[in-house]
Amino acid sequence: MLSIKNLTASINGTPVLKGIDLEIKAGEIHAIMGPNGSGKSTLGKVLVGHPAYEVTGGEVLYEGRNLFELAADERARAGIFMGFQHPIEVPGVSNAAFLRLAYNKKAEAEGRDELDPLEFDDFIHEKIKLVSMKEEFLDRSLNEGFSGGEKKRNEILQMAVLEPKLAILDELDSGLDIDALRVLGDAVNKLQRPDRALLIITHFPRILETIQPQFVHVLSGGRILKSAGKELATELEDRGYDWVLEEAAAGGAR
């Protein structure tokens, strides 16, 4: 589904990604872990086309197409979704109107029927149950005045509405209490299917107890230092990141 080869990227001329290689197949769940400032979020944002980052080298194929030929909105309509660590507030635009618009743009691109406000009302009421969101949040302005946790809930609601093929979730657990994390983790698991893939970006292994990855990668200094199965997450929880960094430094010296 997604094939990243020797990807390099920079922000304001400063290199952040220094050669990333990663293969994600349909049905897989991958976790990218690493210390703060390692480039984890940057990788996600580069994949969804954030304008602040410049791709300086390498290649990314999404379903066989050159990802960088697609604008951010085209990537979204092609099935890539990122749940952001800090979702933006948009005053004046109701959450419901925004969700319906986003749904209909994707439906239009896929040749499916668009939903009118009444049809969408039924549709969205099913979806908000999945993330245990209170109905009043549909009428409020998009993310405006939402707590950190409510914003995350809204991100996963958007994911449930758009049903992406590849979902990238950046620090989903920040701002969430244990119960909310379990609800949203379960929701993400319910949305996962054999033809979809997940990329979980996280500093803390906690979330990986609910959303269990098959592959765990440690990213630091703009490079993937180590890749292994999910047991790596447990090891990182016990031992922290330093040993991976030291191991990599020793490997580099050899």
């Binding site: 909105d73 979704f81 933006i88 948009v90 635009v93 618009l101 986003a102 209909n104």
Partner: protein, 426 residues
């Protein structure tokens, strides 16, 4: 020859018609103050960016009584609480106040002149504005609303001023609102019209101790109209006055709200101006924290397209001894074209030391992070821009209390921000 000479002839012309019989002494005093005055010129600081040359070179006749179809201006929540004035004259057949609760006095001034003893008394002592005096000298009729002590009026009242000008006319809409202690009211004041005309509305508001007035003001004048409005409000101890002024129409409009807050009073003074073509919309507000512990909030937003121009001058005066004042002012402006222009100026004068006052002004384009967020959800760049522009304006409408009005205003904003192609956002 300077424009001021032309301007003074405009004033003389407007005053040359017959003086209405009621409130003779009030009118005489206004005429005395107007004698020898001229239209303000741009060399005056308060009119620096608002050029009245086009007004000065126009002529206007007194507005005749006409009938108009007001059906499209009716709102379901307020069909039984409306007073309609056409060309400054009360329109009895278009009005219907049958749903107004007993105890509330809600009449055209011409029917209840004895109830209007407060007329002209709000903000007494402060110098009257030229257009305010012009209104006082020549207004034909207006609405008076008196809400007695502790009465909380459940239904909003709708005062509709409609102008129909086949040839250029001058109209002087007038509104007097008096809330006695503990009374509560929601009021919608709307201005509509067609043709070329000059409208100089004056609104006077008394909010007594502990009373609450929520006041929506909608300016949808014709594109050829001049709209020069004055609002004076006095808010008593612990009282609240919340207004939202929405300016969509008129070739040139000016809003001059002047609000005085007594101890512990609260006011919000929000505004939205949506401008394109060569429209000019000017807001000169004055918030007077006269006593301790009062709170004011002001959010003024402008979206300016074409060669249009928006002006905001927000004066906040914290009097000596007005300790514990909490005043916040925000002026936020979106420029949609190269030739659009905004001049914004906060003006804080603080003579007390224990106060919390803040102000901010921003003029710019849309936030790239917001644009990207919407694009990441599948909206193309144009749709994202249109949606954000809509949201910037609709933000001011979120708390409009009358659902049908809120919806119609959102639809108007959708149409004016090219967000119409995005489906129904209202």
């Amino acid at each position: 020859m300077s424009t001021a000479v032309v301007g003074s002839s405009l004033l003389a012309d407007l005053l040359s018609g017959p003086r209405p019989a009621e409130w003779a002494s009030l009118r005489e005093a206004a005429e005395l103050r107007l004698a020898g005055r001229e239209l303000p010129a741009t060399r005056e600081e308060d009119w620096k960016y608002t050029d009245l040359k086009a007004l000065a070179t126009s002529t206007f006749e007194p507005a005749p009584k006409v009938t108009v179809d007001i059906s499209r201006h009716l709102l379901p929540e307020m069909v039984g609480t409306r007073q309609v004035f056409v060309n400054g004259h009360h329109a009895p057949h278009a009005s219907c106040a049958s749903a107004v609760p007993a105890g509330v006095r809600y009449f055209p001034m011409s029917h209840a002149s004895e109830a209007c003893h407060a007329l002209g008394s709000v903000g007494n002592g402060a110098a009257k504005g030229l257009f305010e005096d012009l209104n006082t000298a020549r207004f034909q009729d207006g609405a008076v609303i008196l809400v007695p002590k502790n009465l909380k009026v459940a239904l909003p009242l709708h005062v509709l001023f409609v102008t129909k000008a086949e040839t250029p006319v001058a109209v002087f809409p007038r509104l007097l609102v008096v809330l006695e202690r503990g009374a509560e009211l929601e009021l919608v004041e709307e201005h509509h019209g067609e043709g070329a005309y000059l409208s100089c509305p004056v609104v006077e508001v008394h909010v007594a101790e502990g009373a609450i007035l929520r006041h929506e003001r909608v300016q949808r004048e014709s594109p050829e109209a001049f709209h020069l409005a004055t609002l004076r409000a006095e808010v008593g101890k612990g009282g609240q006055y919340h207004s939202r002024t929405l300016s969509f129409g008129a070739r040139l409009s000016r809003q001059e709200p002047r609000v005085r807050l007594a101890e512990g009073a609260e006011a919000s003074l929000d505004g939205l101006a949506l401008l394109d073509g060569s429209q000019v919309a000017d807001t000169h507000s004055f918030l007077h924290h006269a006593e301790p512990g009062a709170t004011s909030r002001q959010l003024h937003k402008c979206i300016v397209d074409g060669r249009a121009r928006a002006i905001f001058n927000g004066q906040v005066l914290v009097a000596k001894g007005a300790q514990g004042t909490d005043a916040q002012q925000q002026s936020r402006n979106l420029l949609l074209s190269e030739a659009a222009r905004v001049d914004t100026k906060p003006q804080l004068e603080i003579y007390a030391d224990d106060v919390k006052c803040s102000h901010g002004a921003a003029v710019g384009q849309l936030d790239p992070e917001e644009l990207f967020y919407l694009q990441s959800r599948g909206m193309n760049a144009d749709d994202a821009r249109n949606l954000l522009t809509y949201g910037f304006a609709a933000d001011v409408l979120t708390h409009v209390p009358v659902a049908s009005l809120r919806r119609s205003l959102r639809q108007l904003v959708m149409a004016r921000t090219q967000a119409g192609s995005l489906g129904d956002l209202a």
